[in-house]
Amino acid sequence: MSAPGSRPVLHQLGGVASGHGHGHGHAEQPYAPVFVGDALAELQALFPKYPTKRACLLPALWIVQERRGWISPEAIDEIGTVLELSPAYIRGVATFYTMYHLHPVGRHFIQVCGTSPCHLCGSDQVLDAIVRETGCGEVGATSADGRFTVVEVECLGACGFATPVLIDDDFHDSVTPEQVPGLLARYS
């Protein structure tokens, strides 16, 4: 649930609509498919749980992101092959959901809640501290060393534990600006 306009490097999505990407920095290496071996088995194991293959689309997108950190046009093509869906359809679905990264992000992806309940409790100061300490410079950006991407998100569903901060899959409760340096030190 990143804030509108907070996604960095959107130009990496442009020009790769054919699905065979020439996005920056990943076109030189031959593409290594995601859906082989374990990942394919993980996806196929879901088929009996749903009456249609289409219903496995959200889980398939998660499998890609967990293994690659983001969902590339090539990976979208692969999902299309396995689930018998068009890349255009998959992109339409993937763009609806804010948690799927359709471009590379930092090694650690930080989501800070900023909706009213957390705002009342000082989430702006927590976000400022994180933007400053990570060196990201602004909300939505990635630090120059590629270590962190920081976004402000809408309600994380932990309003009594303001301010919640989600770093990758780790949910941190009741974060204060003072705790930020120590918290970030745990993510190299």
């Binding site: 009456p51 989501q111 909706t115 309003c159």
Partner: protein, 435 residues
Amino acid sequence: MGYPHRPHAKETVVLSEYFGDAEARTYDGWVKRGGYQALKKALGMTPDAIIEEIKASGLRGRGGAGFPTGLKWSFMPKGDGKPHYLVCNADESEPGTFKDREIMRWTPHQLIEGCAIGAYSIGAERCYIYIRGEFTEPWRIMNAAVAEAYQNGALGDNVFGSGKRIDIVLHRGAGAYICGEETAMMNSIEGRRGNPRIKPPFPAQAGLFGMPTTINNVETLTATSHILNRGAAWYKGLCLNNPKSTGTKLFSVCGHVMKPGNFEITMGFPMKDLIHDLAGGMRPGRRLKAVIPGGSSVPIMTAAEAEAALCDYEGIIEKGSMLGSAGFIVMDDSADLVYEIYRLAKFYAHESCAQCTQCREGTAWTTKILERILKGEGKPSDLDLLLDLSDQMTGKTICVLSDSCATPIVSGIKKFPEEFEAYLSRAKAPALAAV
């Protein structure tokens, strides 16, 4: 709020009895605490008998709408030969609400048992639990608990030797508030964009994958095992002279209180005590200004309205708001209501699926107008414009996201006009920098 949570003496602890007790997360730990007795009892009853018991208990939907649960279950067709589905809504995303998260974090088997009872009652062999993508910890805990439930025969093709099949599939969302709307949730499970569907057809006729479907909230399903164990009459007795609102309910309290957290109280509990006693009241030197009691989608209450209200479906309506999901956003006299309303409008603008014009345009434009007011660039006609836009956003769209955006705006302008006037007259310094 720290755990283990020691309940306040005024709480009535049923669903939250084992919050903070890590052993209760395991299958054996749950069984030791009386778990899965209700499911075994249910499997020995007819689905109709269970539905009658739930109807008699007075249980109403805890996700926000307050629809009678037993009645909802009775809408499912019988003997139609089609697959039926139960969907458990664990997409808790309503600002101010964080109760389902705690149910899943601490008592995953309590939810699994409730889902199994619900599935059996509506003739479903499969239940999808839709967990929001950001709930990484509940997701891990629920996955482990479902695996344990299968190993112990509480789920699978022969639940506790009854010959009945009940499967639970966990489905992870990916960041979309609107997927908490039941028809959007069904689209999301089907692998589609989370756009709400036009009703009719209602889910009980043609829901998930076109099949008869019931969608229930986490807390609603969780309550069913206690009703079967202790009886509808016991549950119905947990109220304050209002037979329309029965049982206990988890109230999430956040914002400007000393002890934010979840509090389980019987329906009809005084709101004054919830805020000033259970949640620890205001910070020193501060006084209560406003409360949004039902998650962010309900009218704002003034301090006087809140302190006079009783916490149940009817009691809060009587004082000018709604119970909703019982997520209390409490604001003291340091809060800038115009800013908080702007922040909520921004939330709805971000979360609109953009299907309906009134919502797509309305949420965006009300946000921009509120932003202009906060920048000190508001026009005298802006309040009328906001009210007019809000009127166009209410009751005119496929789902109620648009209405939810309009509600805090309209109630804010009507109940706290001086806060808006202070910006419009330039008496108050801008809260946002002009660009």
